[in-house]
Amino acid sequence: MSVHLAESSSRSVTEIPSIRRDPIAQVVRLATRPVSVVWPRPTVDHWGRDQRLVEAIAPWANLRWDVSVGGEQLLPRGGALIIVNTRRFALTPISTAFALGESLHRPVRFVGRPDTVPFGPLLRRVGGLLAQPEEIAGALRDGQLVVLGAHGSANPRYAGAVDPQLVGAAIRENAPVHVAATLSTMVSRQARVEVVAALRSRKKRRGPLAEVELAEHAQRRLQDLLDELGGTRTGVPGLGWLGEG
């Protein structure tokens, strides 16, 4: 009964635009009109990712990287953890999340934002999550795709170690774990992301060995993938090695 009352009052509220009578509101409305026209109905999703901001950044990111994505059809519709190799000082998880998101037309999060201004809030707007198992578990439970970087390595063809604690979130949430090999160089625009089918553990473990073994398995699989892909070359005679990054 009360709900009807509330709804009917809200209807009458929208029918009486108070803004017409309020001169201050009119001035404010005029002052903010240019901004409102450019960005009229903005929102962020329930994890704080701003799709419009991501779309605004994408062309600039595409100027730097030309990413080709393979194997994205192997990812499930629900939540999954995607482990990628990371070159030291590179933004591999972010660029991979952007590339996969563009390819799949759905938001893809990445792990590793700080919780301090101004970078923390900015990275949250583009899909960043804290590097905490509970945070990753929450995102997986919510059906999100989450990109997790392995530890950075100096050599782009070497897969670093994978944090077992963070991988453990996927085991607890019963979410599939994929690995994706990424190849990029500091001098070229060309980059590649190759996703493979979900990892399967041969042994069923009940204790903490499950995450340790899964993390090691992911690192080995990543290394195999990187070996299969081979290195990138610049194509310039005598300077091909520069492509190795």
């Binding site: 509220v13 635009p17 960005w39 962020v44 329930h46 704080g48 201004v117 809030p121 929450g138």
Partner: protein
């Protein structure tokens, strides 16, 4: 299940009145009574209201013992700077919790307690989860969060001693046309300050959705905490744009001055609203459907749009013009 006796504390508040009105329509509710220091804000047909100060403990115990409720819905929680300042809000909430929950614990028929808590109980310390679910640790970082956490402790203690189940609803900031809310007041100012460096996302909840969740918790006998929050999120900057207000970007030290000015113009900003504007407030409300069987009907952007659709003053034209107006009408 039919013929249950339900006691609503804080029935005089907007949320309490809304809950009481919804309970009157529930078939499982036999008798409905309420206690508060203020009278209800709606016309209630079945409910019996007792206007009692929580300090008057003997009177509270008399009334509650005589009614002997099966279900207690405790809504007597004062959000700081909503109706009273933080100091009074803490004192009134504590008094109400001790008095009402204590009196209910003496009732032999009591089976279940539903508690209005807040999402602020999770706090927003550095490194806190972006979207905590019900299993996340309670670590309040504001006075309102600490109030809600203390309330949950008191209710759980009463529940253990009396052998009854306790269900706490951790509500996101509740906004509605008549709900006194410091966040709602701040966002409706002509010029609204926001954190230029962070501008984090937050989620809110419509008053009717909050009331529906409280009623559902009483109906199903919720026995654990649950987050209730509207889907989607919004940032202060985005809310200001939607409301066509003038955004005032602030970096840090000038917030103290902004709070004083805001207080002066009638919109005091308590610490939990400051935290919301600086650190955001999102919670995982995914279990609400599973535990309560209901989910909020309006999304956060829709609640914010309704916030800006409320008229400041409603001018109602008389059906029959006054004698001095008749000449104008013709």
């Amino acid at each position: 299940m039919k013929g249950r006796r339900v006691l609503v504390t804080g029935m005089g508040s907007e949320l309490g009145s809304l809950v009481a009105a919804m309970l009157e329509a529930e078939p499982w509710v036999g008798e409905l009574e309420g206690i508060d220091v203020d009278p209800p804000r709606r016309r209630l047909r079945k409910a019996v209201f007792h206007r009692i100060d929580a300090n008057n403990r003997s009177h509270v115990v008399d009334v509650v013992s005589r009614f002997n409720p099966h279900v207690l819905i405790h809504i007597a929680v004062w959000e700081p700077d909503a109706r009273v300042n933080t100091r009074h809000a803490v004192a009134f909430t504590q008094q109400a919790a001790t008095s009402f929950l204590g009196a209910a614990a003496e009732c032999p028929a009591l089976e279940h307690i539903v508690l209005r808590s807040a999402a602020s109980v999770y706090g927003r310390a550095r490194g806190a989860l972006t979207r905590p679910d019900e299993s996340a640790p309670i670590n309040p970082t504001t006075e309102f969060g600490r109030m809600a956490a203390r309330l949950e402790v008191i209710a759980n203690d009463v529940g253990q001693r009396a052998g009854v189940t306790v269900g706490a609803l951790r509500l996101a900031p509740v906004l509605g046309p008549h709900v006194p809310s410091p966040l709602g007041r701040l966002l409706r100012l002509p010029v609204v300050p926001f954190s230029a460096l962070a501008d984090p996302p937050f989620a809110v909840l419509r008053d009717a959705d909050a009331a529906q969740a409280l009623v559902a918790a009483a109906r199903v006998g919720l026995a654990e905490p649950v987050n209730v929050v509207a889907p989607e999120a919004i940032t202060a900057w985005q809310a200001i744009l939607r409301g066509r207000r003038l955004p005032l970007p602030l970096l840090g030290p000038e917030w103290a001055l902004a709070r004083r000015i805001s207080h002066f113009v009638g919109a005091p900003v308590p610490d939990h609203v400051i935290e919301l504007l600086h650190r955001g407030r999102l919670v995982d409300g995914g279990r609400a459907l599973e535990l309560l069987g209901v989910t909020p009907a309006q999304s956060t952007p829709e609640v914010i749009d309704r916030l800006y659709a409320w008229p400041s003053v409603v001018h109602v034209r008389p059906a029959i013009p006054a004698p001095w107006q008749q000449g104008l009408a013709s």
